[in-house]
């Protein structure tokens, strides 16, 4: 037996030579890959770096001269950063509003979508297929086409200029439901059965037994929902009236007027606005990339 498996000596030597060549090729290919990745990765970071450099320069100069990767150190100063923290008008009001809306939206969307997804994933019931097709169709209805009637509607409800109007329409989010459902299908049904035998109610099973198991899926969707909410622009722009209720993107956009002398704040404020979402991403990154790959389109 062992004899048939052991190749003759000469063949072994040939193979090890081939092995060496193959190893060299792999190493060469790895380096080629690193070079490709480094070049693309650096290009991707250029806009951030350009924005960062601009925070030390005079806004008016950047607006007329454009952004580039150079900086005149003799002219550079921390003035913009000092102004951001001492004299930035409503900037931190908008910042706080955005934080509040994002946190509320993430909690509401995750809770409601998980609740709904559990119904789709764990039960057979009449009308399920039809409802599910609605979920899929919703994913391809452009929000922009219904924003005008929706705007009229929230006015009818007396919700204009409130955060409720911004958060509620997106709580049962089709993409999030689809993602959670996919994830829940991977959870063994025995857990549910065991719960029933122990006399736990259907909702107790969800909240006490299944909910805690959904942590990785929550990580991924928290980032996705958080980033959409933090960056949401068009709908809050329509729904919000008073400038003290503005979110950060809307507020920043108001600084971009042709006559404004707010350009210093615009550049430093834009840069600073990216920081919280980066921190969120770095904190949950592991969950995020794992969760995305675990729950995404496996079919």
């Amino acid at each position: 037996m062992s004899q048939t498996l052991t190749p003759p000596k000469s063949a072994k030597r040939v193979m090890s030579n081939e092995g060496k060549a193959a190893k060299r090729r792999v190493r060469l290919n790895s380096w080629l890959m690193y070079i490709v990745m480094a070049v693309i990765g650096l290009i991707v970071l250029v806009p951030f770096w350009a924005n960062f450099l601009a925070t030390f320069q005079e806004g008016r100069m950047i607006i007329t001269g454009g952004l580039n990767l150079g900086i005149d150190l003799a002219q550079a100063s921390l003035d913009n950063w000092v102004m951001l923290f001492t004299d930035s008008g409503m900037y931190f009001t908008w910042f706080a509003n955005s934080v509040f809306i994002t946190v509320a939206q993430v909690i509401a969307t995750l809770a409601v979508s998980a609740f709904v997804a559990y119904g789709f994933a764990m039960y057979e019931f009449r009308g399920k297929t039809a409802l599910f097709i609605v979920v899929l169709l919703l994913m391809s209805v452009p929000f922009e086409m219904m924003m005008l009637p929706l705007y009229i509607q929230i006015n009818d409800f007396g919700l204009q200029d409130t955060y409720t109007a911004i958060i509620i329409p997106f709580m049962a989010n089709a993409v999030t439901i689809l993602f959670f459902r996919q994830f829940l299908r991977g959870i063994p049904r025995e857990i549910v059965e065991a719960g029933r035998i122990d006399g736990v109610s259907e909702f107790g099973i969800f909240f006490r037994l299944v909910f805690p198991l959904m942590k990785p899926a929550f990580g991924a969707m928290a980032i996705l929902t958080g980033m959409m909410s933090w960056n949401n622009f068009l709908w809050p722009l329509l729904a919000l009236r008073s400038s003290e209720k503005y979110t950060l993107p809307i507020g920043l956009n108001t600084l971009l007027t042709p006559y404004g002398n707010n350009y210093d704040l615009l550049l430093v404020g834009s840069f600073f606005s990216m920081i919280p979402i980066f921190i969120l991403f770095l904190a949950f990154q592991r969950f995020f990339i794992e969760g995305m790959t675990a729950g995404a389109v496996k079919g």
Binding site: Y34, G66, N231, F278
Partner: protein, 298 residues
């Protein structure tokens, strides 16, 4: 009450109830209203039924066709950029080459642009593509001996900026989608192909690409939607909804102009309905052909 909490027959309806309510109140009702409004002439204080007059006007409206052409061009361009590129990069990341840790760093770096808002990204890209000779893009072409270009004031330059912005923001997201698809391909497929003596390139074409079909369909679907509904990118690059000779005008931009800037809600609704039909006309046949609906039945 007890029965309600314990019955596996009733429970599913309670679970999906929030979804049904949200859909009815915040989606079906506005959609229906958009349909109705598109057959009306709405002036503050008076509503008049005009049948299909808004649609009639729409098809004779030169600017609408400009917007439609721009949106379609943008959609096709982004499909060509945002499917093959991210797919190849995902294959690279998924390969056995190189250290996992460095590849993870690359993945994160590629994802970071998706975290920025269109407002911030738009401000930065507007200034990178600024017409001054000291702006980055003009410095780059200057290094090749070319004269500064007024990027955003020409059709080609403006679209180039829009494509670069789209590639920058979405490549990393699509890489993640493709990685998810790649990791679902059983290793046996590749082993079988190796035994048949397939080259790496043949394996890519005959194993990887066909197995990625569900992912490609998914990315295609969201990209068709995203491309046709694009508005904010152009709004930010041009500092508002008005671009020179409307080179950056999109369907949603036109809807915004008619509905919000001109307060012609009926006409704007007709624009919205056409947008919806367009998205559905492209996406539904594609979803049916690829069996996405059928798969969800069980």
């Amino acid at each position: 009450m007890r029965k309600l909490l314990y019955s596996p027959k009733i429970a599913p309806y309670i679970f999906v109830l929030p979804f049904i309510l949200t859909v009815l109140i915040f989606w079906v009702s506005p959609l229906y209203k958009a349909g109705v409004m598109s057959t009306q002439k709405i002036i503050p204080g008076s509503v008049e039924n005009v049948g299909l007059a808004n649609y009639d006007r729409l098809f004779g409206d030169r600017l609408f066709w400009v917007a439609l052409r721009n949106s379609l061009t943008y959609m096709i361009g982004t499909l060509l950029i945002l499917i093959p590129g991210p797919m190849l990069l995902a294959v690279l990341i998924n390969s056995k080459l190189g250290s996992e840790r460095l590849k993870a760093v690359f993945k994160s770096v590629m994802f970071i642009p998706a975290l920025t808002s269109v407002v911030v990204a738009g401000i930065v890209f507007k200034l990178i593509f600024s017409e001054s000779e000291t702006a980055l893009m003009n410095q780059i072409i200057g290094a090749f001996g070319l004269d500064p270009i007024k990027w955003l004031k020409t059709q080609a330059g403006g679209f180039f900026a829009l494509y670069i912005l789209a590639a920058w923001r979405w490549t990393g997201v699509n890489i993640l989608y493709f990685l998810a698809g790649l990791q679902a391909i059983p290793n046996d497929y590749y082993e079988a192909a190796s035994i048949d003596g397939a080259s790496s390139w043949q394996k890519f074409w005959h194993v990887t690409v066909p197995s990625l079909k569900p992912t490609i369909v998914f990315v295609l679907t969201i990209s068709v939607y995203g491309g046709l509904a694009m508005f904010l990118e152009s709004y930010m690059l041009y500092g508002g909804n008005n671009s020179p000779q409307n080179i950056g005008l999109t369907i949603v931009g036109y809807l915004y102009r008619q509905g919000i800037e001109r307060n012609d809600l009926g006409y704007a609704s007709a624009v919205g309905v056409v947008l919806l039909l367009l998205v559905l006309a492209i996406n539904i046949p594609q979803l049916i052909a690829t069996g996405t609906f059928k798969k969800e039945q069980h």
